[in-house]
């Protein structure tokens, strides 16, 4: 090879090398840019499979998001579902999927292409360490379509041991294994059979973000009677210098039902960590607690009462009462026996009820009222229907109740007080049946079996009263008006009297009214006597005299005529009026006391008209008004 050829080759190889380097770098950059993304391979029927793993390295219990996306082109047709590996074998628990589906349509070269994409999102929660391949495929017409690349999940950390351990002696953890862990609290590691044990699951977290906790799998409580208790509020504790929030997520009262080693299963809780306040995307973490074993002691045999029930463990008291102590023979009464205290109140055995001589007792109605505070307790009430069958003084005997008190580790017995009953005789009461205790009585049997009812009365016709037509509401309204009328009338009368006193006529007015009435009477009398003349001039004289005295005022009373006329002049009455008045009075006197044979009715009418004109005239009237 010549030097020129070598240089030509070198010149010819140089661009090729650059291209190869460029292609290689581009491939590397692409591979780096999509490290966890398996590029879907084109498959038959236009199907593409894409798998995304959120992270490839997680701790035990830390959830990782696993998304499978299947895209299919074509018109219609169902998108096949993915087939997953056996996660159980890998110790990975699966949550989900959450599915979503989208469709898009494109127009290319006059052809319509439709694309359907279905996403399946899972949470993978590993429970043991290791490296796990997560292959996925879908089947299309019997052929497997695989993802071009198989994601691998590496799990680090240690798995929670399976074997059960004894409960911790301490009330709180001495060290923190991680920023999120479960702490199981048992208040008595070796209780007696039937004794109340409080079991609580507490979640310690120092994540510093809002968490959403759910008990994924509650522990198993074989051989325990359990009662749920209220959880306590979240508190804060400092462990190893780190501040933890402690969430009590589960509390139960456990009552061991047998002696020996009893197991409490492992609890699992899922904790969703809120990633961002404004983007509430959660990261899921699962925490597992340990299984526990309790050493349950049998109840002591010494001092155990005969027929003792192992459910009667705790601290109890008993009371009895009746709704009435004085009853008639055959009349039912209610006896209530109440057992209250702390312990398995739902399962206690009250023991055998004492016999009630002279009485019949029916099966009790049982009511339980539990309270769930720190510990389980409450009241258990037995309500008996008791019917005295004998008259006289009867007694409800005391009832004894035995229980084992774990605090004192002794058997205790409490009892009710005897209750005395006074039963009065009732001739209508049924005869004693000697039944003692009865199960399900009918009301007839309970109240007396005989036919005690008075028979119907059977005359030929039923006496009746007519239908009342009165509407009670209307009748009541009328009565109400009548009642309200009394104070109204009182008020009206009193008010009327007050008004009369305030605005009614005074003495002068009454006197003036009397004078006017007298004047009207005299005028009427004179008018009536015009034709006959009987008493005519007397009436006219009185009419004129009265008008003159009234005009003259108080001084005019009792004055002779001449002085009266003089007084009228002093009062300002015109002379012609006084003269006319004097003349008329004189004429009246002459007619009354002298011979008046020549008087005609026309003359008397003229006198009457003149007198009335004088009396009603302004000169005398002004005086009357003043008077």
């Amino acid at each position: 090879m010549s030097a020129g050829q070598a240089s030509e080759r070198a010149a010819g190889e140089s661009p090729l090398t650059r291209r190869a380097i460029t292609i290689g770098l581009g491939a590397i950059a692409t591979a780096l840019a999509l490290p966890r993304r398996a590029v879907a391979a084109p498959a038959a029927g236009g199907l593409e499979l894409d798998v995304q793993l959120e992270r490839t390295r997680v701790s035990v219990g830390e959830g990782v998001r696993y998304v499978i996306e299947i895209a299919q082109e074509g018109r219609g047709g169902r998108v096949p579902e993915p087939e997953l590996p056996d996660f159980t074998e890998m110790g990975i628990s699966l949550k989900g999927p959450m599915t979503s589906q989208g469709q898009s349509t494109s127009w290319i070269n006059g052809q319509v292409t439709r694309r359907t994409t279905v996403s399946y999102a899972y949470y993978l929660i590993p429970t043991k360490p290791g490296k796990f391949k997560l292959p996925v495929h879908v089947k299309v017409n019997g052929a497997k379509v695989r993802a071009p690349r198989i994601p691998v999940l590496e799990v680090i950390g240690a798995a929670m041991p399976e074997e059960a351990v004894a409960p911790s002696e301490t009330a709180r953890p001495q060290e923190a294994p991680s920023d999120l862990f479960l702490w199981l609290r048992v208040d008595k590691p070796s209780p007696y059979v039937g004794e109340q044990v409080i079991y609580a699951i507490e979640l310690y977290e120092s994540i510093g973000r809002r968490v959403d906790i759910s008990l994924n799998e509650p522990p198993g409580f074989q051989d325990f009677w359990t009662e749920e208790l209220n959880v306590t509020p979240t508190r804060a504790e400092v462990i190893d210098g780190r501040r933890f929030h402690v969430h009590t997520i589960f509390r139960r009262a456990l009552f061991p039902q047998r002696a020996g080693e009893l197991m409490i299963g492992r609890p699992q809780a899922d904790v969703g960590v809120v990633a961002d306040l404004f983007r509430p995307v959660q990261r899921l973490r699962r925490v597992v607690g340990q299984a526990l074993k309790l050493q349950v002691r049998p109840l002591p045999g010494a001092g155990r009462p005969p027929g003792f029930s192992p459910n009667n463990v705790g601290n109890f008291k008993i009371a009895a009462e009746v709704d009435r102590a004085q009853v008639k023979q055959g009349e039912p009464l209610t006896l209530t026996v109440t057992i209250s205290g702390t312990g398995n109140i739902n399962a206690i055995d009250p023991g055998e009820w004492p016999a009630l001589p002279g009485m019949r007792r029916y099966d009790p109605k049982v009511e339980v009222a539990t309270y769930e505070g720190e510990r389980v307790g409450g009241e258990r009430r037995y309500e008996f229907l008791v019917i005295p069958e004998q008259a006289g003084a009867l007694e409800l005997p005391a009832h004894r109740f035995s229980f084992f008190d774990p605090a004192t580790e002794r058997y205790e017995t409490v009892s009710t007080r005897p209750i005395k009953l006074e039963v009065t005789a009732d001739p209508n009461a049924p005869q004693p049946t000697g039944m003692g205790d009865a199960a399900t009585p009918t009301p007839e049997a309970a109240a007396g079996d005989g036919d005690l009812f008075a028979p119907p009365l059977t005359p030929a016709s039923a006496p009746r009263v007519g239908a009342s037509r009165r509407d009670p509401r209307r009748a009541f309204r009328r009565w109400l008006y009548g009642m309200l009328g009394v104070p109204a009338a009182f008020a009206a009368v009193s008010g009327g009297r007050a008004l009369w006193r305030r605005f009614g006529p005074d003495d002068a007015a009454r006197e003036a009214a009397a004078r006017a009435a007298r004047r009207r009477a005299l005028t009427t009398q004179a008018e009536a006597a015009v034709s006959s003349g009987d008493g005519f001039y007397g009436a006219i004289s009185q009419l004129l005299q009265g008008a003159a005295v009234e005009r003259a005022g108080p001084k005019g009373h009792g004055l002779p005529r001449r002085q009266l006329l003089a007084l009228l002049r002093e009062r300002g009455v015109p002379e012609d009026v006084v003269s006319q008045l004097g003349a008329l009075l004189d004429r009246c006197d002459a007619a009354r006391f002298g011979a008046a044979g020549g008087e005609r009715p026309q003359d008397r009418q003229a006198v009457l008209d003149e007198a009335l004109a004088l009396v009603r005239g302004q000169a005398l009237a002004r005086g009357r008004e003043r008077a």
Binding site: P332, T440, A446, G448, P455, P456, A462, V465, W479, V493
Partner: protein, 301 residues
């Protein structure tokens, strides 16, 4: 002339015939109705004699439906028939109606009805205890006093006392105005004291009567008819049941919708029951009682 008289006579004749027919019908109707009532009553009595209490109750129900007024005896017989059938709700209702003064019961009816009512109440109490149902008791304590105060006589007495006081006072004032003598003035002070006493009685009796009648009208008493009735927290069969009330319980109706009544028991518990399950003892709806349409031992509604 005679031609004018004929139409007048025929008109009078027609008027007379019409009046006679009307009066005859008026006289005949009540007796016919009474016969129907008596017939049903007699059939009920015959059923009683034969021991057929179901038939007796049916016949007595018919008689009561036909009766325009009240019959204490009929109510007593009906209540006793229901008691014998074990239908303590309707038995209580009719026996209580038999004891109401409006029905004017005789002494025999009062004695027998009180006796049967006592037995029915005792049995209802036992049934309530067994079923865990609430039993509304009749009014106790002040109840009888208020019942007596509701009497018409008390109302009239209060009214008369008030007007009498007004009349005495007005007379005394009138005499005083006339200016009475010394003995008359002494009498006026006695009259004044009497007026005060009368007014006090008027106020007390009137207030007690008015309030008790008002309470009776606003919350009329009723009897639960069915054996056990579910009491709900609101009107509607779908609403939550809060307790059960025993048939024969006396309750008060405190509110009412179209088909439901809100009741109050003697211990203050309240709830809603169907209107059809109640028999109202007084007021406008006192006669609106559903007859027995099913066996007395039918399950609770």
């Amino acid at each position: 002339m005679s031609g004018d008289r004929r139409p007048l006579a025929s008109r009078r004749l027609g008027l007379g015939l019409g009046l006679g027919l009307g009066l005859g019908l008026l006289c005949l109707c009540p007796s016919a109705r009474a016969d129907v009532v008596d017939d049903a009553f007699a059939r009920g009595n015959a059923a009683v004699a034969a021991g057929q209490w179901d038939e007796a109750a049916t016949q007595y129900e018919q008689a009561e439906a036909l009766l325009p007024g009240r019959s204490a005896l009929l109510s007593y017989n009906l209540g006793t028939a229901y008691a014998q059938l074990g239908d303590y709700g309707r038995a209580t209702f009719h026996l209580r109606r038999a004891l109401q003064s409006d029905a004017r019961p005789s002494a025999d009816v009062i004695d027998a009805a009180q006796r049967n009512l006592g037995i029915v109440q005792r049995r209802a109490e036992v049934a309530a205890t067994q079923a865990g149902a609430r039993l509304g008791q009749p009014d106790t304590g002040w109840g009888p006093v208020l019942a007596a105060a509701r009497g018409r006589a008390v109302g009239w007495l209060a009214l008369a006392l008030g007007w009498l006081a007004l009349a005495l006072w007005s007379t005394a004032r009138w005499r005083q105005r006339r200016g009475g003598s010394e003995p008359e003035r002494g009498g006026a002070s006695v009259v004044g004291s009497l007026v005060v006493v009368l007014l006090a009685l008027y106020g007390i009796l009137g207030a007690v009567h008015g309030l008790s009648v008002r309470a009776e009208q606003n919350t009329p008493p009723a009897i639960v008819l069915d054996a056990q009735v579910a009491v709900r927290d609101a009107p509607g069969a779908h609403r939550k049941q809060i307790f059960t009330v025993q048939g024969g319980s006396q309750v008060r109706i405190v509110d009412q919708t179209r088909d439901w009544c809100q009741i109050r028991l003697s211990d203050g518990l309240e709830g809603w029951v169907p209107e059809i399950a109640l028999g109202q003892l007084s007021g406008v709806g006192a006669r609106r009682v559903r007859g027995r349409t099913r066996a007395p031992d039918a399950p609770a509604s």
